[in-house]
Amino acid sequence: MIRIEALRKEFDKGVVALDSIDLTFEEGSFVALLGPSGCGKTTTLNCIAGLLEPTSGSIYFDEQEVTNLPPKDRNIGMVFQSYALYPHMKVIDNIAFSLKQKGMPKAERHEKARKMAQKLQIEHLLERMPGELSGGQQQRVSMARALVKEPKVLLLDEPMSNLDARLKIEIRDEIRRIQQDLGVTSIIVTHDQEEAMAMADKIAILDNGHIQQFDTPEMLYHHPANLFVAHFMGNPPMNFIDASVSIREDGTWLQGETFAVRAPAAIAEKLAQMDGKAVVIGVRSHQLDVSLAPAPETLELKLSIVENLGKEVMVSGELGESRIRVTMPDGFAGSYEELTTLRRQGGSVYLGLQKEFNVFDKESGVNLIG
């Protein structure tokens, strides 16, 4: 288990890279640190590794405080973005380097390196130099090097950013498999949300040195804590529609410029005290009903693009200020041809909100439902 408490990191000239970071990683879990460039992912990782000294706050591995321990006393394995293999050592010596530092005799450490190489299917590369390997092979070597010391924690800093798309998926599965085999607590840094969703048990979303949300991929996807997370997670991105809350005798309404819809009971309950509040409705592209004819409590979407994605049809258009993408639901009455004709004629479809959607405070960005 890793526990981070009130971590803060300030660089020279007052650059605050991290502030009040609180995180707890369960034993054996796989966690992703996700966020845009410069948000502090690498800094967090380096603090956990002991490569950077935090300005304040503490880090615990189990019950032991490691905040001021040097990296070598933390028993961590680390995979770096550009692999950082030692260019003048053979692959086998690269893998065995940490064991050599512990003073393990040559035969024994080579034996261990060989075993780890077997696990990663790079046994045939052991006698080569790093310069003679492909990117994917170097990746595996750096994994083997990180894991051979049987670390308590495995840290991965954008381990796949130098690989092509197909290899990425292959290595991604490989890392996940080995992580589960060994049961080592792992933290991966990435700015690729799909990668994070596919690999991690839990994801911490960072922005500007602050944790925005720390949750399972599912929760992040369906119940983003705020507008930042909602914008960041999911492909296609969530749709956002401006509205205001209006509480009347016949229920709680979400009132937009061109529409008014009644909020479902569960949502209405959360909005009970918020009459008149400016909000943003957040709804995923597949969480909308679509009909071709106008109906009460629907939102008119003027079609601008109709796409056939093979497994589904997606339309997009303008609704007031915002651009909305909608995936046609399974039971949709019209066809792709109908929709393209409709688009050419400058027509609209009518969207109905389902039971589940999110409502954010427009001012603070906080999710009022979640």
Partner: protein, 296 residues
């Protein structure tokens, strides 16, 4: 496409040709003349008279030759070892351990001063510093620290003085080369090593030095070349003396040719040096080719 390339090549040759001509006239012709001269009896009478291998025979018969060879080897070896070790020390200190780049660079700029000081000024400075009388700066220190009598430093420790003086002028270059090599090692390699349990000394030994191995070879050869051919510092400080105690090969060629006016004999001595230098240069070229290959 091909023709274009050739035209581009032609242009390059065209622009380079003035330099090629210059170098031919100013360096290669004298070199050929020197080689020719080595087989003549040319002296102050200036008669070009061919005398076969006599000059070379004379070199091997001269009892001083063996002393001069010993001096040269001693001078080059000791200076090289100290130069490379100090270069590495300063480079690693100023680029790896001192993270503040401004301080590191200031230090390197200070190291550069002896190198950019004109040799004459620099040597006079040493002579003045080590003056044999009570007024010499070194002697003042020595007396203040309890010495009983002024020492003639240069006469007493000629090689130490010469090597020290040469050393100070030669560390700047290697330090600069090694520094930029240290700087070009990706930071993540150090991080990886730290995570793998290496301490600072182990990082120096296992990461920095192996990364610098070609640079070390190159600087060693390059400085050897310089030490073999450049005799100005020695000439100005001890002029080979006392006696032949600090006479080295290149300086002896100069002495024979210009002090004793035995031009032919002096030329023969430098021809032997040129042969050694050429072999060294071939080795340097080979090292650089291998480096390119291993990095490409």
């Amino acid at each position: 496409m091909k023709r274009n390339m050739r035209q581009k090549n032609m242009q390059a040759y065209f622009f380079l040709s003035p330099f090629l001509i210059f170098i031919t006239v100013l360096y290669i012709l004298p070199a050929i003349l020197t080689v020719a001269m080595a087989f003549t009896k040319l002296d102050s009478a200036f008669i070009w008279e061919f005398n076969g291998l006599n000059n070379f025979r004379k070199i091997f018969k001269d009892p001083n030759t063996i002393i001069i060879i010993k001096n040269t080897l001693f001078y080059v070896l000791v200076t090289i070892v100290f130069t490379v070790v100090l270069d590495l020390f300063f480079a690693i200190m100023t680029t790896y351990f001192i993270q503040d780049e401004r301080k590191g660079n200031l230090f390197k700029a200070i190291l550069m001063i002896p190198m950019i000081t004109p040799a004459v000024v620099y040597s006079v400075l040493w002579i003045w510093l080590l003056e044999a009388t009570d007024t010499g700066l070194a002697n003042q220190f020595y007396l203040a620290l309890g010495g009983t009598q002024a020492v003639n430093w240069i006469a007493q420790y000629p090689f130490t003085v010469v090597i020290l003086a040469t050393l100070l002028t030669s560390i700047a270059y290697g330090t600069t080369v090694f520094s930029s090599a240290v700087k070009s090692i990706p930071e993540n390699q150090f991080r990886a090593a730290r995570v793998d349990g290496a301490g600072e000394w182990e990082i120096v030994r296992n990461i920095i030095l192996p990364n610098l191995r070609f640079h070390i070879t190159f600087i060693t050869l390059w400085e050897t070349l310089g030490l073999l051919t450049n005799y100005v510092t020695i000439m100005l400080i001890t002029n080979g003396g006392p006696g032949v105690q600090t006479e080295v090969w290149a300086l002896s060629s100069y002495h024979k040719a210009f002090a004793d006016s035995q031009y032919g004999y002096g030329a023969a001595i430098s021809v032997l040096l040129i042969l050694v230098v050429m072999v060294l240069m071939l080795v340097i070229a080979a090292v650089m080719r291998r480096q390119e290959k291993s990095q490409g």
